[in-house]
């Protein structure tokens, strides 16, 4: 008997607010897989931020452009790919933003927390971009959290571009 990969796919118009559809779908799937409430909350935040990046920065809120979200269920992990059609790559080398600089006005951008939150809250994250495909943000959470990588507040999870 053929073995099927369990993949749930969503196609969202790039409209702010619709990221919550992906958030709810991720949470439902993670709950079915047996993730704890805390981990589900982490995942929800990460998926929300990845979808916001795709809607705002990737597809520049062009409602005709879709954000594709693929949720792949594995035995011990859940992988979420968020795909936009962006013409420029996200900067995967982003360090933890400096709140002191932001509060003092030294850094005039008060935004820019999304990638940091993603990296802090999932076990693995990978950013890929090409002119043909746009951006793909791949996030993975494991049912059993890998040592040293889980919930690392410094955002030092492995990733590549």
């Amino acid at each position: 008997m053929a073995e099927y990969k369990k993949i749930v796919e969503l196609s969202l118009p790039s409209i702010l607010g619709l990221e919550l559809v992906a958030v709810d779908a991720s949470a439902s799937l993670a709950k079915l897989m047996g993730f704890s409430d805390d981990r589900i909350q982490d995942l929800m935040t990460a998926v929300e931020e990845a979808c916001l990046n795709a809607i705002e920065h990737g597809n520049r809120q062009n409602a005709d452009m879709k954000v594709l979200v693929a949720l792949t269920v594995d035995e011990a992990k859940l992988q979420i790919d968020v795909h936009d059609r962006g013409k420029t790559a996200f900067n995967p080398d982003i360090k933890k933003p400096d709140i002191d600089a932001k509060v003092s006005g030294e850094d005039s951008r008060t935004r820019g927390w999304g990638l940091f939150l993603i990296k802090s809250l999932v076990d693995e994250v990978e950013f890929k971009w090409s002119p043909e495909t746009g951006n793909i943000t791949r996030m993975v959470i494991h049912l059993k959290q890998p040592k040293m990588e889980a919930n690392n507040a410094s955002g030092m999870q492995s990733y590549s571009s």
Partner: protein, 113 residues
Amino acid sequence: MRQECRVTVHEDNELTTIEVMGNLTAAAEEAMDTAYQQACRHNTRKILTKFDGESRINSAGIAIMIDLVMESREKRIQIFVSGLSNQNQKIFELVGLTKYVTVVTSEEEVRGS
């Protein structure tokens, strides 16, 4: 499609409360700014930002809170926050906002501070 967020301001002699019902996202920016300007009109020294316990706060919401902290520092106003869910408290700690706002569990805690 934008997410609904209702922001109201309550004032008395000692404390001004900004009550946030719903998600703190980019859609709430104008409402939060208006509420903050209203809160500052009465020479207040303490502002409590009160969340409903179920609000989601995303990165744009974090930026709104940083703006509020920046303005308050200039005006020497103390910012308190209550009603954070566990996840929102975790996010506040991750980004470092807990250095600049005091997280409390009740309004009475602010009044007694």
